[in-house]
Amino acid sequence: MTIAAAFARYVRSAVADTGLPECDLMVAPQTIDELEHILDLASEHQLKAVIWGGGSHQGFGGRIDPDLVVATSQLNRLVDWQPEDFTVTVEAGMRVSDLEDMLADRGQMAVLPELPGAATIGGVMAAGVSGWRRARYGPTRDRVLEVDLVTGDGRRVRAGGRVVKNVTGFDLPRLAVGSFGSLGVIAQACLKLWPEPSTKVTVSVADGDRALATAYRPTAVVEADGVAKVYLGGTEAEVDGQVESLDGTVVSGWSWEPEPTGVVGWSLRVPPASTRSAIERLPSGWRYQAGLGVGEIKAASVDAEGAAGLRAWAESQGGALVIVSGPAALYSDMDPWGTPPPGLKVQRELIRRFDPCRVVNPGRLPGGL
């Protein structure tokens, strides 16, 4: 049987999404069983597969010329929502915005990235990205309670559980976050939820650092191109009290700014106390959003001028400068991740045990893994 014939029944029209890479073979599994079969076939035929959620984080990591694109758009079901337990289990192709809208109806939130666009739960997890509210609620990783992975050779494995506290076995759910599918495609996940605060405000202030020092555990403090906003949530009395001490312009609700856009997108990560210093070191013309107190800076520029020096400094602080989007040529001029982290040997040994034919996103991770 030809490869095309082997995959024929999984080729579905719903794959016609914008931004997809050039690839003759595009499939969209409708069930996790189908995903298992697809990856088993991909392993059998030694294909390189890219997994496509909403396409929001495809700019991360090494470039791949795929033989196969697996869209998760049809794996988008709600599996289990226990509002009184504050847990929700969804298939990975569900869009973050759909999940958060659904949860908001019951006053709950998954605290995923605030302006997710088309991003899916699986994509956000696989790329290991978090929203600005991580300042108060911790990163996305802190909310993943259970995960169902389909390994590169098509085995479905489950780890963790649908309870908010669990140490039964190794923490594969956390490891899956930021793994870019190298241990398996995230097919389904259970997330811990938070109650939405009864009162939410956004306060624009002149001095973000001062606000960070003044406010008591704010939801987030984000500075964009010199203008800082403090996000607060809680009871009305608590929020009112905090607003008074901040001395800024208040609007009701959380008002998030779109990320800076440009030819090249960057994620600069430094220890929280080095955030100001990082902002000051951004090459001229770079636009940015910085999570004060967190050390995560999203930036955009017209080119990579000055990036090498900034990366060297960030790495010397224990951080990184990562390319998140840009023209293909940039990726051959500059490693998208920078200096690979220690522990590559164990990472390699792990990946070969979960994806022995190296099917899913090969070469996407630091060190060419």
Partner: protein, 471 residues
């Protein structure tokens, strides 16, 4: 040279313990399991740990790393004769208030870190009941919890980096001070790995700002159902208190007699609720706690008037396990977790199990996150008693899993629950766990025969792993 000779060469004679009594003392932890110790070593640096690992590996001796030995699942009790590496001498602390972090040696006592940072306005959030004795290395290895993990998360949410010595004796730093370290997040899987993936020689932990205000409320109820309904009701109203702890009457009486915390001994169950944070929020949340308690037929309600009274209430909670010594010479403390909505039904079944087996059971638990701690007081010197206790506890585990729960919320799997793992995970799931272990430690040098039952690694699942050059 002999293994002990090699170890003495690395550490000198004073930090290599090989007398029978010394070996006996290190053969167990806080639980009921006991194993055989070849020799105990007390390294002081990562370099020494590395040399010890290499020497043990050369001699084919397994290694069991160990903190203060307060664990209850047999994690530090060797399953096979082993070299025990005690990390309690590694106590360096380096505080970085700017980044709200601290580098700590694995031997630092949990509470000591919070004491040291208190005057600066910070603390280390994970607070196991054993926090005045347990080490942070042990907390990291077990992903320990504690009452205040309800709002702040367990240890894993507070660890930014770990330095480990691998099974090859290599010293590797995983994670770092910046958010989202690149590459696979090995740090997250070393946390909670119960000494199977590497020996933790240093950890970078987060410091949490102390709350501006705290209110601790003690509520008594006629029945366990009312206490649980109150706890669940508070969470369902969208309040995440700092802690929500419940004790049944037997436990309340044992504790009251032991430390005199002021608990109402006529109550069927008591709820200890703590709200913390901004003063205005604390006030509103305390009102809500009282309101929900009233809706659920509270019989007595008291708000700690000051820090002294609050400390006394918490002393009562954290003395629960010690208090059991009044009732019987031994105790078996279980640790399971269920979805919060299943608490009432599960507690009923657990009491039925205790009754059927004729064991003396007391209950104290983290109600806010559904983490149960049924405790059986017994006399291990009476033949057959431990078997009865084990049988009862296995049934408890099954009931919790049937309710959608898990085997352990914070104590770990160790030896005690290893063979129950197939209750929760199928062949492919366990094989994945075994593969993960194999990637770190292919020869099973570290803490062998723990966590995963024999035969977890299943050679015929999936496609063969290529040998030689790859990637």
């Amino acid at each position: 040279m002999t293994l002990i000779g090699d170890l003495v060469e690395i550490l000198g004679p004073d930090r290599v313990l090989s007398e029978p009594l010394e070996r006996y003392l290190y053969g167990t932890d806080g639980g009921v399991a006991r194993g055989e110790v070849i020799v105990v070593v007390l390294p002081e640096t990562a370099g020494e740990v590395s040399d010890v690992v290499k020497a043990a590996k050369r001699h084919g001796s397994p290694i069991v790393p160990r903190g203060a030995g307060t664990g209850l699942a047999g994690g530090a009790a060797p399953a096979v004769p082993s070299v025990v590496v005690s990390l309690t001498n590694m106590k360096d602390i380096e505080i970085d208030l700017g980044n709200r972090t601290a580098w700590v040696g694995p031997g630092v006592i949990n509470l000591d870190l919070s004491k040291l940072t208190r005057s600066s306005g910070f603390h280390f959030a994970p607070d196991p009941s054993s926090q005045s004795a347990c080490t942070i290395g042990g907390n990291v290895a077990n992903n320990s919890g504690g009452p205040h993990c309800l709002a702040e998360g367990t240890t894993t949410s507070h660890v930014l980096a770990v330095e480990i010595v691998t099974a090859d004796g290599e010293i590797v730093l995983l994670g770092g001070p910046a958010p989202d370290p690149i590459g696979l997040d090995l740090r997250s899987v070393v946390v909670g790995s119960e000494g199977l993936l590497g020996i933790i020689t240093r950890a970078l932990v987060k410091l949490t700002p102390n709350p501006l205000a705290v209110r601790t409320i003690l509520a008594g109820f006629a029945t366990m159902e009312d206490a649980v309904a109150t706890s669940s009701g508070i969470v369902a109203r969208g309040v995440v208190p700092a802690a929500l702890e419940i004790m049944d009457q037997k436990m309340t009486r044992a504790v009251e007699n032991f430390v005199g915390a002021g608990f109402p001994i006529d109550a069927g169950a008591i709820l200890l609720a703590e709200v913390a944070g901004h003063p205005a929020a604390v006030e509103a949340e305390a009102r809500l706690v009282e309101q929900v308690a009233n809706e659920n037929h509270v019989t007595s309600l008291r708000v700690a008037a000051d820090e002294v009274e609050r400390a006394k209430l918490w002393l009562g909670r954290k003395s629960a396990f010690g208090a059991v010594a009044q009732l019987a010479p031994d105790y078996y403390l279980h640790d399971t977790v269920v979805p919060r909505t299943q608490l009432v039904a599960t507690m009923q079944k657990i009491y039925e199990i205790a009754e059927r087996h004729g064991v003396l059971m007391l209950n104290v638990f983290h109600a806010g996150d559904g983490n149960l701690h049924p405790l059986v007081a017994f006399d291990a010197s009476v033949e057959g008693q431990l078997d009865i206790v084990h049988a009862a506890m296995e049934e408890v585990a099954k009931v919790c899993i049937e309710a959608g729960g898990a085997l352990s919320g914070e104590h770990g799997i160790g030896l005690e629950k290893r063979d129950l793992m197939p209750l929760l995970y199928n062949e492919a799931d366990l094989d994945a766990q075994a593969r993960l272990r194999e990637a770190f430690d292919p020869d099973g040098l570290f803490n062998p025969q723990k966590v995963l039952p024999a035969g977890s690694r299943c050679a015929d699942l999936g496609r063969p792993i290529p040998t030689g050059a790859w990637l």
